[in-house]
Symmetry: C2
Subunit: 337 residues, 2 copies
Amino acid sequence: MTTFHGWAAHASGAPLQPLSFDPGPMDAEDVEIAVEYCGVCHSDLAMVDSEWFPTNYPVVPGHEVVGTIVAVGPQAKGRAVGQRVGVGWHSKSCLHCHHCMGGEQNLCGTRQPTIIGRHGGFADKMRAHWSWAIPLPATLDPVSAGPLMCGGGTAFLPFVVHGIKPTDRVGVVGIGGLGHLAVKFAKAWGCEVTAFTSSPAKRQEALLLGAHRTVSSVDVAELKAFAGQLDFLLVTVGATLEWDALLATLAPKGRMHLVGVVTQAMSVRTSGLLSWQRSISASPTPSPAMLGQMLAFCARHGIAPQVEHFALSDVNAALDHLRSGNARYRVVLDARA
Amino acid sequence: MTTFHGWAAHASGAPLQPLSFDPGPMDAEDVEIAVEYCGVCHSDLAMVDSEWFPTNYPVVPGHEVVGTIVAVGPQAKGRAVGQRVGVGWHSKSCLHCHHCMGGEQNLCGTRQPTIIGRHGGFADKMRAHWSWAIPLPATLDPVSAGPLMCGGGTAFLPFVVHGIKPTDRVGVVGIGGLGHLAVKFAKAWGCEVTAFTSSPAKRQEALLLGAHRTVSSVDVAELKAFAGQLDFLLVTVGATLEWDALLATLAPKGRMHLVGVVTQAMSVRTSGLLSWQRSISASPTPSPAMLGQMLAFCARHGIAPQVEHFALSDVNAALDHLRSGNARYRVVLDARA
């Protein structure tokens, strides 16, 4: 019998507790990964706290995994023992539907999130289908790479699928785990970058991250004074915001794109969309190919998440730190500490 | 002194009355048009009824004009007396801003709607900047072409700017002035076409217009049974609809696009956007170049609005017919009758 040792949530809001479990027989197409580092994402909190739906407890959270492959199933392709890989929000997809065949496995109707119905990366080991275990570029620092696998990919996808150009004026709302990476991506993309935050302290930090200017994300008067200035506005927070005022910061043909999970319905006046040919869109985490592309882009541009480390055994302190809103900007658990 | 003879609204909801007025000196870049036909659009009703904002009365509605040029200003370019042209929602733009210089004069910040602050086509004559008086292809029947200038253009623009492909599965919500043309465009575009209507009678009519199937636009159970089927959903009505259920008819990466003026705020759950990378967008009427492209497309594909004719002197009966919801599908006034 194989035994994995993780930290599991057993009830909404309760502290995580050690859990030893048998992962069962390994699938022929899976790889088994010895976890080195695992980022902590708001989606982990959402699962711990049953925020989106009643979580099926116990669950071992963790879906920003960096680790080394320790076993490969007989049908796993292109992966080898000893290879360092990252795993993000998804760990499996059907591989034969229209979307999988088209290279968008992240849109597969039966895609499997890493921490829904399976255990994730707050553990010594975890498993994923080989296709979702993405090889890490050798020049990327594994110590801080974990948050790229979910937060980074989520912030990166919109730049690719919406064809953002270096001539574009890009806004980023929320300077947190996703937002601080989005600012770095936009800067490396060659764009003019405006950071929107509700925190006066983060306005200064955003400039250090690469933003050219900052605007309050909550002061409607300040937002209105910034009307018509942006081609693309990436909203990285999961809260109800001043949607109409944010939409009005867009120039004609501008797009507001959401990557934060907003649980309340969004109310917008459609006249702001119609008169100026604007769009609202949103997206999940990327496909394996795009995750690989994002990692290569980060390695080439020296983009790394700004992280704070906790030992995996201090996972509850790490979760509290994230909940407090004081994380700068992503918490990473060291699974071997 | 020059005198134009039109039919004007003088107060919200009141019948239109004859109005003779002096249009003033003609601008050097304008053309003067003897109106032959003018379509009646819901936006005319919105102005007559002060639906969007308090209308500055009196106003001569009418912005789906077909007529013949009877005078050209000394700086008018590419237009000649005797030429048959169409004029739509816009009659002027600045020509020197980023959007005008980029060929999107319809997004100019100082674009002038034909019936806001000026008098429109429910008259014997009207004027427009030469660039917004679009030459009609010789093979296009002028008797029914008027509604192409606003309704047609509005329904056409999304196919162009969003790159709709013949392989796409396209839905059209609302089979009216815009919607019946959108069905014809989608059919000519080579798409699979689904018509959504609240009217059982129009379901049969939509099939005759070219739709491959019909779905109720208001029955949530029927909408839910159609989940995930469309790449593009064009909403041509200006009412509050079952937005979440309509969004759910989209496949991953699908887009819901509005061309109807919805005065109530739109409320949507963003999870439907985020999980499947969907978009919501909207657009106004097209640029002069795109209006010309649309007219050429209609001429080549034999696409004409299905219209009912009224004499201009019967304009109040025409407005009542439109208000009744019984128009099939666009009312055209004959200015010389």
